[in-house]
């Protein structure tokens, strides 16, 4: 029972085939992996190897063509769109390369967005605002709450996106090249932020091209041609984030 609870992700031979039957494009060719609660993992691999495809399936944005995906012990491989939406709403937080903030909403409103879709949310509007404000404080944007995305730098926008990913208290945070659009300095800030979240016990899976970035994590999955080519620990144990990643900035209060 306890062991079951600590295993957040288990995939069994998941594959994904795009295209037609005549010309199938095999993006994933049977990937089996297990992720424990509190891990901070980087998925690496050359372009077109299937990283995003894998992450999208883990994020319940997509379904595997074959194989099983167990999220917190629950087999979600054959869930319908409504069930997947509910899982995304309650269990998952997603960070995109291109931030994907809604341009007509303020930073605060963007952070509040996932709460709207959280079914039977008991929080009142005021409580939600307070919670979102708190989340923005946690990413160091307490002075930017009423700013619109186009009034924020790329790094600030991505921090809003991080706050948004956290707002429904997910069991897993997934990020597809979260620093892909950022300069070195902003990238480091975002990674430090993720590092702090990891320290506080969050489970994080991120996709990246850059070895630099992978160094912030504890475990690196290398994907090649839709297959898991290697699974290597970053010289550290993977037991729930009591250790600091290599580069840690000054801690922020969350």
């Amino acid at each position: 029972m306890i062991k079951e609870a600590t295993k957040i992700i288990e995939t069994i031979q998941i594959s994904k085939v795009y295209g037609t039957e005549a010309y199938p494009i095999r993006a994933l060719n049977g990937i089996s992996l297990t992720i424990q609660k509190g891990e901070f993992i980087a998925i690496m691999g050359p372009s077109g190897s299937g990283k995003s495809t894998l992450l999208n399936i883990l994020a319940c944005l997509d379904r595997p063509t074959d194989g099983r995906y167990l999220l917190a012990g629950e087999d979600v491989s054959h869930y319908d769109r409504n069930q997947l939406a509910n899982i995304r709403s309650r269990q998952l937080g997603f960070i995109f390369q291109s931030y994907n903030l809604l341009p007509r909403l303020t930073a605060l409103e963007n952070v509040m967005l996932p709460m709207i879709y959280y079914r039977d949310n008991p929080l009142t509007l005021a409580e939600r605002e307070e919670k979102a404000a708190h989340a923005l404080e946690g990413v160091g944007l307490e002075n930017r709450m009423t700013h619109y995305p186009n009034q924020l730098s790329g790094g600030q926008q991505q921090r809003v996106a991080v706050a948004r990913a956290l707002i429904n208290d997910p069991i897993l945070i997934l990020a597809d090249e979260p620093t892909g659009n950022l300069d070195t300095k902003s990238s480091r800030e975002i990674l430090e932020l993720l590092g702090q979240l990891h320290e506080r016990g969050r489970t994080i899976v991120l996709v990246t091209h850059e070895a630099d970035i992978a160094h912030y994590t504890q475990r690196i999955l290398l994907i090649r041609d839709g297959l898991l080519a290697s699974d290597r620990r970053n010289g550290k144990r993977t037991n729930g984030g009591s250790e600091k990643p290599r580069k840690t900035g000054k801690a922020r209060t969350a």
Partner: protein, 411 residues
């Protein structure tokens, strides 16, 4: 997600693109306004018509001769058919429950008095019952009497307009006028009545029908047709039984014309018959207007659908993002449906205001009368709402069916 949140989201997204929202609503605004204005015009027309029908007189029965209809074996007499002057006298004398009976025979004359000449004035020959039957009153002097009718006295009563044009401020009573060179003495002036069913009572002059027969219709024709009249108008006593009076008149005339009851050479029409005919024409007019208005509402709905479809494409990324953070297809569908509804409701509201003002303005600025009907407001507003749902459905469904990943990749 609850209803209030849905409305809040939709409201925000409509506000965020005011120009597009306004353009989208335009079709509905025009449609709703068109419905209200058109119904107000048709209601105004109906009111005018029904007033003019009741303005014809009170409790009237119109009897018209079917000159062309010949009964089988009726010979020359039958071919003549129709009504004669004496039919009227007989109805007045022999039927109970008749308040008044008159005939009308008219022709066009040139009227002269002093230096003033008026072309194409209708001279209307009738009987002393005419004011009762036609519901007109005499404002100055008097109407002609039975004696003058019998003797074909050359007296005339002027319509108020004619009196004004011929004599201005002067008193016309006792003066002479020439109607196509026949000298007539003015004995009275009618009170203003205006235009009723296309007849301007104020622009006519009135003489005993015997004068018209003698002086203004060719004597040859009169001799041949035997003082034939086009129609006899009977005013039925309000207390009398209309059906009984009609039955008696039918029997009397059939008897006088020597025709059988199933081959009558005349037709009777009551005022309520006329009202019914008018109602059926105005109601088909109304149906036509309803169609026009309905089509414009549907065009408005198609406008909403088009812009919502464009909006769905434009906002594909937003839809993907909302799904990624937990929106179900149903949430997305509800959002777009709510937006379409709000657009059509707001469009409907503005359309009601525009339509009511437009109807009032149209009535004030044109010579058509308009009556704003409450039902037109309710009807058009609810149709706008329904159209919002109907035409918002397709775009909303399309939005809901979008795949989150593909949407997020959309540029």
């Amino acid at each position: 997600m609850n209803f209030r949140e849905m409305v809040r989201i939709s409201w925000k997204s409509l506000l965020s693109n005011k120009m597009r929202s306004l353009l989208t609503m335009l079709g509905v605004i025009i449609g709703v306004a068109a419905v209200i204005v058109m119904i107000s015009i048709s209601a105004g027309t109906e009111a005018t018509i029904s007033e003019s029908i009741s303005g014809l007189g009170t409790n009237l029965v119109f009897i018209m001769g079917n000159i062309s209809r010949a009964g089988p074996g009726a010979g020359f007499q039958g071919m003549q058919g129709g009504l004669v002057y004496d039919d009227m006298t007989a109805i007045g004398d022999r039927i109970n429950g008749v308040a008044g009976v008159t005939v009308e025979q008219q022709t066009s004359v040139t009227v002269k008095a002093g230096n003033t000449t008026l072309e194409s004035i209708t001279i209307l020959g009738a009987t002393p019952d005419y004011p009762t039957v036609r519901d007109v009153s005499v404002s100055k002097g008097r109407f002609y009497n039975e004696q003058e009718l019998d003797r074909a006295s050359k007296v005339v009563v002027l319509g108020s307009g004619v009196a004004e044009e011929l004599f201005g401020e002067d008193d016309p009573i006792g003066q002479s006028i020439y109607a196509s060179n026949v000298k007539l003495t003015v004995i009275g002036v009618l009170a203003e009545k205006g235009l009723v069913s296309g007849t301007d009572f104020d622009q006519q002059i009135y003489t005993p029908i015997t004068v018209v027969f003698k002086k203004f219709t060719p004597s040859m024709f009169a001799r041949m047709t035997g003082d034939r009249v086009r129609q006899i108008i009977v005013s039925v006593d309000p207390d009398a039984d209309m059906d009984k009076v009609i039955e008696q008149i039918t029997l009397l005339l059939a008897n006088r014309h020597e025709v059988s009851l199933d081959a009558l050479d005349f037709t009777m029409l009551t005022q309520s018959d006329i009202i019914e005919t008018q109602e059926s024409t105005t109601s088909s007019f109304r149906v036509l207007l309803a169609w026009v208005a309905g089509v414009s509402l549907i065009v408005g709905g198609i406008g909403i659908m088009n812009i919502m479809l464009v909006s769905v494409t434009e906002r594909t990324r937003e839809i993907g993002l909302r799904q990624a953070v937990g929106a179900t297809p149903g949430d997305i569908q509800t959002q777009f449906l709510t937006e379409a509804m709000m657009l059509s409701l707001m469009g409907g509201l503005i359309g009601v205001i525009v339509g009511v003002l437009g109807g009032i303005l149209f009535g004030a600025l044109s010579d058509m009368r308009t009556v704003i009907e409450a039902y037109s407001i309710i009807l058009s507003f609810t149709s706008a709402a329904l159209i919002g749902i109907a035409f918002g459905y397709l775009p909303a469904r399309r939005a809901a069916q979008l795949d989150p990943i593909e949407s997020l990749r959309h540029e």
